[in-house]
C-alpha cells in the first residue's frame, strides 16, 4: 500500500501557492513540492497542520492506494 495524497488539487482549490501553504504550516516550498510528488511522507503533525490550513479532514488529503 502506497501513501498518496490530493494535496495539489486541494491546495489549488483553496488558491494557495506552494510557497504560501509552506509558510502557513512552517515548511519550505520544496517540502510541499516533495509531498505533492509523493516523494516525501510528512509527519502526522505536518499532515494535520496542512489539513487544518486547507480546512479539510486529514483523510481527504492523504489516503492509501
Amino acid at each position: 500500500m502506497l501513501l498518496r495524497n490530493n494535496l495539489k488539487e486541494l491546495r489549488q482549490k483553496k488558491a494557495f501557492t506552494q510557497e504560501e501553504l509552506g509558510n502557513n504550516v512552517g515548511v519550505s516550498r520544496q517540502t510541499i513540492i516533495s509531498i505533492e510528488r509523493y516523494r516525501y511522507k510528512p509527519s502526522l503533525e505536518l499532515a494535520m497542520k496542512i489539513a487544518e490550513k486547507l480546512n479539510v479532514k486529514i483523510e481527504k488529503i492523504f489516503y492509501f492506494n
Binding site: 509558510n23 512552517g26 515548511v27 516525501y40 509527519s43
Partner: protein
Amino acid sequence: MTLTKKEISILIEIVFSLLFVLIFMPFFYENQENNLVLINDLIGKITEIVIFAVIYFSISYTLLKLIFKTKITVDERDDMINSKSYKLGYLLYELCLFVFIGILLSNSTLQNNGEIIFLILSLLLFVSIIKSIYQFYLYRTF
C-alpha cells in the same frame, strides 16, 4: 536545473573539500616520510589552510546571501535528509577508523607522523565528500 539555497551551500562544501585536496593535500603527500618536527613550515601551512577556509566560506556565503535573499526554513524534511546523510557519514567514518587502525597495526613501516597525518586527512576528506554528495542527492530526489 534550478538549485535551491540549501543545495548550493552543500555544493560549496563539496567544492571546498575538492579544493583542499588539490591545493593542500600535495604538501601532506610530499611530507609523508617526515616526522612532525621535520615537516618544513607546518605551522605556516596550517595558518594558510585556516586563512583560506575563512576567506573561502566568507565570500561564498556572502554571495549566497546576496543572490538568495529569502530566509531558509529548516523543516522536518531537512532533518530527515540531514539524519540520513550524517548516518552514512558516521558509518563511513567508523569503517575508515577500523581500516586506519588495521593499517597502523599491520604496517610496521607506518611510523612517521607525516604518513599518519596524510592518511587521517585522506580518510576525513573522503568521508566528508561522500556525505555531502549523498546529502545533495537526497535534496534532489526527496
